[in-house]
């Protein structure tokens, strides 16, 4: 008898089995070979041939070993093909899965397109809103070490102002005394000048008056020429100028020999010392820098903004504490009215958008979620269609992990397709969005795509992929093959899976209800704002600003007489009804003063003192701007002289606040604080109706219209026309040039345009929200329709039997409808509960609309119910039309 054990042992020696196991296997296989040998002998084979044939059973030793090895692997893994390494097998099966997935998806183009399309919509919204968020809040400012740059300011809660600006002595003390900053610089950005351009014309430019270290703080160097030096930055120093990059390109055509050039700003010669690099985007939207050259002993006003570079490792809190210490050690600040504040550098420009962009991000996330829920539903429904395939694969030995991997690969192929389309669509969406934005956004806000954006898109796409692959995978892995096959054979739908689809529909309805109710509230607020009476008549009013050169018109009388002659000429133009001027027209800014009222309310030392908006206006302004007089009279020619008695008009808020009544004509007001000869009283000659100077959705402050005798200023002109105000722009420009050829007209806007601009953000987010809500409800409707239709098609036989047994079509219809509407009702109930919690986040945007606004909720619920009804009705009617005989025959 041959030795059968040794040949077996030779072949399994390298498997690393335990000696006992090795012996067992050798024994068992040897016993097999022996029996085979005996059998072959019994058939009459010669001994040698029988032995060879028996040993053939072992095939090659490698094959046996590798198969045995495979049995020692973890159970879930597939046996490996001969001669392959484990890694190769995984890669191979990935490519295999991918190929299969793409083929499967290509076989169902409608399904694949629906999924990819829905995902694309969800991703597009997220991509666009995220790039806005990214540009405003995440992308670093274009300076080296931008994370250490901070914004400096002073705050004055007592004046009800969060930012008042920094005074000269304060900035000087901070700069000299701090221990936490590497450097700091300050700027007055309120200035502008008329630049005499090389072509002989003139352009109004915006100036930042900066302290010498500004460029250094930002970590930048001049592109051409030199930086501002200490000797430039002191009072009475020779006037110098750093051109901004854009102005240099625009007016000097990028001339590299521009340094040393003398240019005239409002008639005064300035030497160009250099050109700012393109990255010098702070302070934003200025055309050139001049030295601040401040008298640091003059604490008269708070007008500066600051930028600081923190020492490494210093926190904003430490910096603030440091400045606060210095600030209150100064005698002048003992009254503790203002105190220093330190913010991240970008805060000043984007903090208004913080809440809005976050809420919008939340809204688009909900849209994406609804899209995912819809897709999950579609995948589930399709999973049903594939149940036979999956059951058979499982029955013939495919492991559950294997099938899950296939389903996940399919999910991710769809997600990738949807994601890529979504980003492309998002780009289009973003371009549209950006074109709607006001042109005065800071230049550092750029909406390009970057690495952070790519990461975000990949992350949400992958997340979406996981979300909607999950349902079918769970479905497949919870699979009981036998039950499944029977079910599939019967062609009806499992109870568990029907419940899962029902949950998806309910969730979808709930999510869209949350979004719709938020949208309803926001639109309600928008309506309320739009119907707010501005207190002035914005239609048919053209406004523009002029800044006559102090060199050409050194005396106030000369300037007044210039204004007077211009207004006379404008009033004589055809189509012009009225013309006047004010230092600040509505929606154009703020100038805060403190007032006292004779015989009116007094303020204690620690009481909050209201900041009063003070505007100097020329006669006829109320009529031109359409502001209504409550009592008294408007300014007229009597008040239009510098030496006329000092008179003012006040708004109703001022009158009520100080005197508690609007019947105050004849009473007197004065600036807070006594002059050397006691208060300088101004008589109130008129009270005008409140108007929304700061915007339709902004609070009204006490307001004073001062006559030219009270105080002068630089004017913005208002012209009321009979026709489209744009038609008189060129005639107006001609009149100005006739009076002064070198005086540029700037800030040219109709009041309607100003009003539109002031509502830009609100309008934009209201419509965005509405668009998202519309997409959400459409997606939800598609989801409801899809799920109910599928349910009906799955239950064709059941419905057929019911009808064969005597159910009337009406009963079938109402039964299907009822089942569908039950899901919708559950969704509405959940959505209502959730929206009560989320609506609170919107409070700041709602302009007084209650977060429980009944009309809004009633409308939204009705809308959702209607959409749900329609989406349910179509499949329900189809169910009612099922012909029993045909339904049964279809089996």
């Amino acid at each position: 008898m041959p030795d059968w054990t040794q040949p077996v042992l030779d072949r399994i020696r390298n498997l690393g089995l335990s000696p006992a196991r090795e012996a067992d296997i050798a024994d068992e296989l040897a016993s097999h070979l022996e029996e085979r040998y005996r059998e072959l002998l019994a058939r009459g084979l010669p001994a040698a041939e029988a032995e060879r044939a028996a040993l053939e059973e072992l095939e090659s030793g490698d094959a046996l070993a590798s198969r045995l090895r495979a049995t020692r692997q973890p159970l879930a893994r597939e046996p490996m093909p001969l001669g392959s390494t484990r890694k190769g097998n995984l890669m191979e099966s990935f490519w295999h899965d991918l190929k299969v997935a793409i083929r499967m998806l290509a076989q169902r183009p409608a399904f694949s397109l629906a999924v990819a399309g829905m995902l694309a919509i969800g991703v597009a919204g997220n991509a666009a809103i995220f790039s806005v968020f990214n540009a405003m809040f995440l992308r670093p400012l274009p300076f080296p070490g931008a994370d250490r740059l901070v914004d400096l300011d002073e705050t004055a809660p007592k004046w009800n102002l969060t930012r008042v600006g920094i005074s000269n002595p304060d900035y000087d003390a901070w700069q000299k005394g701090n221990k936490t900053f590497e450097s700091m610089a300050f700027a007055d950005t309120g200035g502008g000048a008329n630049l005499a351009t090389p072509d002989g014309g003139s352009e109004r430019i915006k100036l930042a008056a900066v302290t010498k270290d500004m460029l250094h703080v930002l970590g930048l160097k001049p592109l051409i020429g030199r930086d501002i030096q200490a000797e430039d930055d002191r009072p009475k120093a020779p006037a110098v100028l750093l051109l901004g990059y854009d102005l240099w390109q625009r007016q000097f055509h990028g001339d590299r020999n521009v340094a040393g050039l003398i240019v005239k700003l409002s008639g005064r010669p300035h030497t160009v010392i250099g050109v700012l690099p393109r990255e010098a985007v702070l302070p934003p939207n200025v055309d050139a820098w001049v030295p601040l050259a401040a008298d640091v002993t003059d604490g008269g006003s708070y007008h500066l903004g600051g930028t600081g570079r923190l020492k490494p490792g210093v926190t904003i809190g430490q910096a603030k504490a440091d400045l606060t210490r210095i600030h209150f050690s100064r005698q002048e600040n003992a009254g503790r009215i203002t105190s220093p504040v330190v913010f991240p550098a970008r805060d000043r420009y984007v903090s208004d958008f913080k809440i809005v962009t976050r809420i919008l991000l939340g809204a688009v996330a909900v849209v994406l979620l609804i899209a995912c829920v819809n897709i999950a539903g579609l995948m589930l429904v399709r999973g049903e269609g594939r149940s036979r395939e999956i059951a058979i694969r499982t029955a013939i030995g495919a492991s559950r992990g294997r099938i899950a991997r296939q389903l996940i690969t399919e999910g991710f192929v769809l997600a990738a397709a949807g994601g890529i389309c979504g980003v492309a669509l998002g780009k289009v969406f973003l371009t549209g969005l950006a074109s709607l934005m006001p042109d005065d956004l800071p230049k550092w806000i750029r909406f390009d795509f970057d690495g952070r954006f790519a990461l975000f898109c990949i992350a949400i796409t992958a997340l979406a992929g996981v979300l909607f692959s999950l349902a079918p995978v769970l479905q497949a892995s919870a699979l009981d093959t036998r039950g499944w096959l029977q079910e599939a054979a019967r062609n009806t739908f499992g109870k568990g899976r029907r419940a899962m689809l029902g949950t998806l529909v309910t969730g979808e309805v709930a999510l869209s209800l949350v979004l719709l109710s938020g949208c309803g509230l926001i639109l309600q607020a928008f309506q309320k704002v739009m119907h707010e009476n501005p207190g002035f008549r914005p239609d048919h009013v053209l406004t523009f600003s002029l800044r006559p050169s102090p060199v050409k018109y050194p005396k106030p009388e000369q300037r007044l007489s210039f204004y007077q002659s211009l207004l006379d000429r404008l009033r004589a133009l055809p189509g012009v009804r009225d013309a006047s001027a004010a230092t600040i027209v509505p929606l154009d800014g703020h100038s805060g003063w403190f007032y006292r009222a004779e015989g009116g309310r007094q303020f204690g030392a620690n009481e909050q003192t209201p900041v009063v908006l003070q505007v100097t206006v020329l006669p006829g302004y109320l009529k031109t701007m359409g502001i209504r007089l409550a009592s008294g009279r408007d300014f007229d020619e009597r008040d239009n002289r510098l030496d006329a008695p000092k008179v003012v008009m006040i708004n109703e808020t001022f009158a009520r606040f100080y005197w508690g009544t609007t019947d105050v004509v004849g009473k007197r007001v004065a600036w807070a604080g006594n002059g050397p000869t006691g208060p300088d009283w101004f008589q109130v000659i008129g009270v005008f109706k409140d108007m929304r100077h700061y915007g339709l959705d902004e609070a009204i402050r006490p307001e004073v219209f001062a006559s030219i005798a009270v105080t002068g200023g630089a004017f913005t002109f208002a012209v009321r026309t009979d026709t489209d105000p744009h038609t008189i722009v060129s005639a107006t420009r001609q009149e100005i040039q006739r009076l002064d050829p070198n005086l540029p007209m700037f800030n040219v806007r109709t009041m309607t345009e100003r009003l539109d601009r002031s509502l830009w953000t609100r309008r934009a987010y209201s419509w965005l929200f509405a668009a998202f809500a519309a997409v959400a409800i459409l997606l939800a409707a598609a989801g409801i329709y899809g799920v109910i239709s599928f349910g009906v098609s799955q239950r064709t036989r059941e419905i057929g039997i019911r009808m064969a047994l005597g159910a009337r079509p009406g009963q079938v219809l109402s039964r299907v409808l009822w089942q569908g509407m039950l899901l919708v009702a559950a969704g509405v109930a959940i959505g209502l509960t959730v929206s009560q919690l989320t609506a609170r986040l919107l409070t700041t945007l709602l302009f007084g609309v209650s977060t429980r606004d009944l009309a809004t909720y009633a409308g939204v619920i009705l809308g959702v119910a209607l959409v749900g009804l329609v989406a349910n009705f179509v499949p329900a009617r189809r169910a009612a039309r099922i012909h029993p005989v045909e339904a049964l025959r279809s089996e």
Partner: protein
């Protein structure tokens, strides 16, 4: 589903089904199983040692089978396999899956001649 993966699942699944079926009524040892497969299929299906035993060990590892050594005087000891309850359940599943599969194939192939 690609041909390749069907083929792979099919071979593996059918082999397992065959073994589980043969052990349903009584316990058997490896040689007996291979003989039965060969004889009942009239020699159309044959498992060699190199494929049969790895399969048996895998089914045992999964808990579908349980093997035990039986010694008889004058003979080599033999390892007998019997179906566990888990194995019985899987067998039932595989059987109906297989029936559905065969039925599906039948419908497809016979449709051409209908």
């Amino acid at each position: 589903m690609s041909n390749q993966s069907i083929d792979r699942d099919l071979k593996k699944g059918s082999a397992e089904l065959l073994i589980l079926s043969l052990l349903e009524s009584r316990q058997r040892h490896g040689y007996e199983i291979s003989k039965l497969i060969e004889s009942r299929s009239d020699g159309a299906v044959r498992f060699r040692v190199a494929s049969l035993y790895p399969l048996l060990y895998r089914l045992e590892d999964r808990g579908y089978l349980q093997g035990r050594w039986v010694e008889k005087a004058g003979e080599r000891r033999k390892r007998y396999y019997r179906l566990t309850p888990a194995g019985r359940k899987v067998l039932a599943e595989r059987r109906s899956g297989w029936a559905a599969f065969v039925e599906a194939i039948r419908r497809i192939t016979s449709a051409e001649h209908a």
